[in-house]
C-alpha cells in the first residue's frame, strides 16, 4: 500500500544541513498495524506527516496505492488524501466551535456527501463509538479520553484505508489510552484499516504487528 524509497528530509540552518529523515525505505501492506517508536527528535512525526502528505520530503519516492505521490498534481493528491487517509492527533485538534456531531460531520462536508447520507453515516459512527448521548456537546465539555474518541470517530467517518495517529494516547491516562488502543486493534482487525501510529509507550507499540525504531532520522531496526 505504501512504498517509501530513499526518503530524505533536511532543513538548512546557518550553513549546516540538519537531517530530519535519512534514507528511509519502508513498505507497508494493506491491513498492517505499524508502530513507530524512537526518542524525541528522531523524526517519528516527520515521517508520519510525510506519509500523510502533510509534509514533503526533500528527496525520495513515495508510492501510495500504486500512484507516485510526488508526481501528482496538488489537486489529485488532495483528492487521494481526502478519500483514503484519516488523522488522529495527540492534542485531538477538535474544532472548539463545533459540537461532537458537527466535528464528526465535517470531513463528509468536504467530500460533498449529501445531507441524508451524511446524517446516516454520522449516526452510525456515534452509535459505534457509543457517544450518541454526547452528540450535542462541545469539545470543552468532554474529558480528554472522550475528546480523543471523537477525534478517532472523525478520522474514520470518511472510511479511510489508512489511519495515521501521532501519539494518540499522549495526553491520556493509561486506562483511557488502553481503550483507544483496543479500539484501534478492533478497527484494524474488523474493518481492515491500515494503521500507522507514533508512540512513546512500549505497551501501546505492542498492539502493532510491526514496530519500527527510529534514531536520528534513520530506521534503526524493525521487529
Amino acid at each position: 500500500m505504501i512504498e517509501l524509497q530513499h526518503i530524505y528530509k533536511w532543513i538548512n540552518s546557518g550553513g549546516n544541513r540538519t537531517f530530519l529523515l535519512k534514507d528511509i525505505n519502508l513498505s507497508i501492506a494493506e491491513g498492517d498495524f505499524i508502530s513507530i517508536m524512537g526518542p524525541s527528535g528522531s523524526g517519528k512525526s516527520t515521517l508520519l506527516n510525510v506519509m500523510g502528505m502533510l509534509d514533503e520530503p526533500s528527496e525520495g519516492q513515495y508510492v501510495f496505492m500504486g500512484d507516485d505521490v510526488f508526481k501528482m498534481k496538488e489537486k489529485q493528491r488532495s483528492n487521494l488524501y481526502k478519500q483514503h487517509i484519516g488523522f488522529v492527533f495527540q492534542a485531538y485538534h477538535l474544532i472548539d466551535e463545533l459540537t461532537v456531531y458537527e466535528n464528526i460531520e465535517t470531513p463528509l462536508l468536504y467530500q460533498d456527501i449529501k445531507g441524508a447520507e451524511r446524517k446516516a453515516i454520522v449516526a452510525d459512527m456515534l452509535d459505534r463509538f457509543q457517544i450518541v448521548g454526547k452528540k450535542d456537546l462541545f469539545p470543552a465539555q468532554l474529558s480528554g479520553g472522550q475528546q480523543q474518541l471523537v477525534g478517532v470517530a472523525r478520522a474514520l467517518v470518511a472510511k479511510p484505508k489508512l489511519l495515521l495517529a501521532d501519539e494518540p494516547t499522549g495526553n491520556l491516562n493509561s486506562k483511557q489510552g488502553e481503550e483507544i488502543m483496543e479500539l484501534f486493534k478492533k478497527i484494524n482487525e474488523e474493518d481492515g484499516v491500515t494503521i500507522v501510529q507514533v508512540t512513546h509507550s512500549e505497551k501501546n507499540a505492542a498492539y502493532g504487528s510491526r514496530i519500527i525504531h527510529l534514531l536520528d532520522g534513520r530506521i534503526e531496526s524493525t521487529q
Binding site: 506527516n49 502533510l54 509534509d55 485538534h93 474544532i95 472548539d96 466551535e97 468536504y110 470518511a158
Partner: protein, 797 residues
Amino acid sequence: MFTNYFKIAWRYLLKTKLYALVNILGLALGMTSCLLIGIYIFNELSFDHFNKNANRIVRATMDYNSGDAPNTTAMTGTKVGPQFKRTFPQVEAYVRTIKYPRVIGYKDKVFDEKRFLYADPAFFNVFSFKLLNGNAATVLDAPDKIVLTQSMSKKYFGDENPIGKTVTVGIKQLIVSGIAADAPNNSQIKFDFVSSFMGFSSAKEEKWWEANYITYLLLHNASDIPVLQKQVAGYMKTVSRDELKMTGANNYLTYHLEPFLKVHLYSSLEGLEPNNNILYIYILGIVAILILLIACVNYTNLSTAQAAGRSAEVGMRKVMGAGKMQVFYQFICESFLLTLIAVITGVVLSLILLPYFNQLSGQELTTGVLFHPVTIISLLLLAIIVAFMAGAYPAIVLSNGKIIQVLKSGFNFTGGSTLRKTLIVFQFTISIFLIIATIVILQQLSYVRNKDLGYDKEHILVLPVDRKMSPDYDAIRAAIASAPNVVSVAGAYETPTDIGWGDGMHKGTGDNEKSVTVNAFPVDEHIVKTLGLRIIAGSDYTNADVQQFDTSNGGENLHYTYMLNESAVKALGWTPQEAIGKTITKGRSGVVKAVIKDFHLHSFHEPINPLVVFLDKRMVLSMFVKISGKDVQSTLNSLQKVWKQRVTHRPFDYHFLDEEYDAMYKTEQRTAGVFTTFASLAILLACLGLFALTAYTMVQRTKEIGIRKVLGATIPDILSLVSKDFLKLVILALVIAVPVGYYATNKWLDNFSYKISITPWVFIIAGLATIIIAFITISAQAIKTAMANPVKSLRTE
C-alpha cells in the same frame, strides 16, 4: 455547506463577544459617519434641483465701481429685470425678490414674521414651488395679493379656508390669493409668505441703483447664457455712459449672470439664504471616505489578528480534506456575516443619530435618501467589498499555508506588517490633524466671544421700532426707560453687531475735497451711554443737539451732528483732536462733535471700516434696552406690560444683543461642532485600530513574552517593550500632522480679520492627548498578556 459556515461564524462571534463587539461597532460607526455625511452632501448637492426650469434660470449679480473700489453684490436695483426683458429676446421672464420682516395679523393673532418675501408675479411660474390652491399665473398679479404656505395657513387660520380672507401686513390689508406647499429645505429661496412685488412701496420706480433686490431671469434656453452675458456687458457699457453718466475712467456698472444651480455651492455672494461652499463639500466628502477607509482597515486588521489565532482550526480542516476554496469561502462567509451586522447597525445608528446630527449641523435632513434603491445597493456592494477585504487576507494566507505550518499554532502572518503600520500612522495623522483643527476653531470662537468689541453686548434687549411707532418714539422710549431695572435706552437704525448701511462722505470742496466710503449709523442721543461706546475726543450728544435738528421747511435747514470712529478720522487725514468741530458731508453737511474708539461693526471676518454716526431719530428702527441683569424675568415682564400699553399693533418680540452677536458665528460654531464630533470619532477609530494591532502582535509575541517573564522581566518591562514600537508610530503621525494642521488652520484663520495666533501649545496638547490615549489603548491589551502565567503560554508549543 454554507449553513455550516454561518453556523461556525455565529458561534465564533458569540465566543469572542468583546472582539466582535469592538469590531462590529468600529465598522458600524465608520459607516454611520459616512452615511450621515453622505445624507448631508446629498442634500447640499440637491439644492434647487426640484425646479423644473433650474437650468434656464440665472441670478443677475451686480459688478460696479462708483469711484473708490470695484464691488460685487448679489443685490440689484429694480430696473435690471424689466429692462433686460424688454431689451433681450432671450429673457422669457424675470422675478425680483426681497425678504422683508413684517408683522402679520389676522383677528387676534399677531406675529413678527421673518420669512416674508415680495416677488414679481412670475414667481410661481419661474420656480417650481407647489401651489396647493390658486392659479400660478394670477396669485401675485395685484399689489394686494398674498400667498401663504400651508403651515402659515394653519398657524393663522387653523382649519378655516384662508382664500379670499384679509390679513394685516404692517399697515396694509392684503387678500390671501393662494396656498403654497412649504418651501423645500434644499432651496435657495425659502419663504412663509409671498406677496406681490408691486405692493412693495419703495420698488414702484425702476432704478439701476439702490441695490436691495435679488433678481432672477428665466431664459428661453439654457444655452443662451454665454451669449446673453456678452450682450449684457456691451449693453451696460452704453447704459453706464449715456443713462447713468458715469464719467470716471474706472467707473462702471454691469451684471453677471450666475446659473441658478451654481448659486448655493459656487457663489461667493449671499442672496436670500446663506450659501455653502463646494470646498466644504469636498472636504467633508474626503473626511467621510477617510473615516470609512479607517474603519475598514481596522476591521481588516482585527479580523486578521483574530484569524491568526485560528490557524489550528484551519489546519485541522485541511487535514480533514478541506480544499483551499472551502477554507477561503468559510472566512469570506464569516466576514460577510459580521459586515452585514455592522452595516445594519450603521444604518440603524444613522437613523437614531440623524436628529442630533441635524442639531449639530443646523440642517433639516431627512432619512428618505437612506432608503433610495441606489443607497441600498451601494451599501450592499460596500458590505461585500469590505467583507472581501477583511476576509480575503486571512483566508488567502491561511488557505495557502502549508498544512503542517498552519496546524502548529505558532503560525504567523509575516507579510503586510509594513502596510499595517503605515495604516496606523495614517489614521493617527488624521486624528491628530482633526484634534488640532478642533482646538484652533474652539480657541478662535472663544476669542470672538470674549474679545472687547468696543461696545457692550451683555444685558441689552433689542426691540423693533416701526414707522407707526416713530412719531411717539420719545414717549415710548421714556416709558421703557422708567421701567424697573432698566439702566438706559437708546435707538438706532440697526444693531451694531453687523452694520449694513454703506454710504459715502466727504470733507472740503473743489480740489480739497476728499471722499471716503463709510458705514453709516443713524442714532438717537442716548446711544453712547447705552452701548458703552468710548469717546476719545469731543463730547457726547446732548439735548441741545436734538433741538438743533431742524425738520421745518421740508428739511431745508437740516444739518446733522456727526461722530466719527478712529478709522474714519484717519481716512480723512485728521487726528481725533483735529476732527472736532470740522464740517463733513454725508448727504447733508454737519459738524463733527466727537470721535469714538473703533468698535467692531461687522463680524470678525471683516476689518473695522470707517464709520459715521449721525443724530437722526426719524431713522430709528431698533431700540436697545440696557437692563441691570438682576431679576431678568420680572424685568422682562414689566417691559412687556409697558410695551402692551404703548404699542398695540405688534407683539413684544425681543431678542438679546449677545444672542444676535453669537448668531453671526453660527457657521463657525457648527463647524466646531462637526469637527469635535468627527475628531472624537477618528481618534476612537484610530484607537480601535491600535487595539487591533496590539492584540494581533500580542498573539504573535505570547511565547516571547512568556520566555522573557521566565527570565525575570516584570510587567512594566514588558509594557514598555510592547508600547515602544507603537508609540513610535504615533509620534511619526504627530510629525506629519503638525505641519499640515498648522498650514490648514492658518488658512482657515485667514477668513478672519481679527484672529488668534496659533501657539505651540495647540500641538503639544494635541500630541500629548493622542499619546496618552494611545498608550492606554496599548496597555489595556499588553497588560493582559504580560500578566498571563508564562507556563501556560509556553505549554501551548
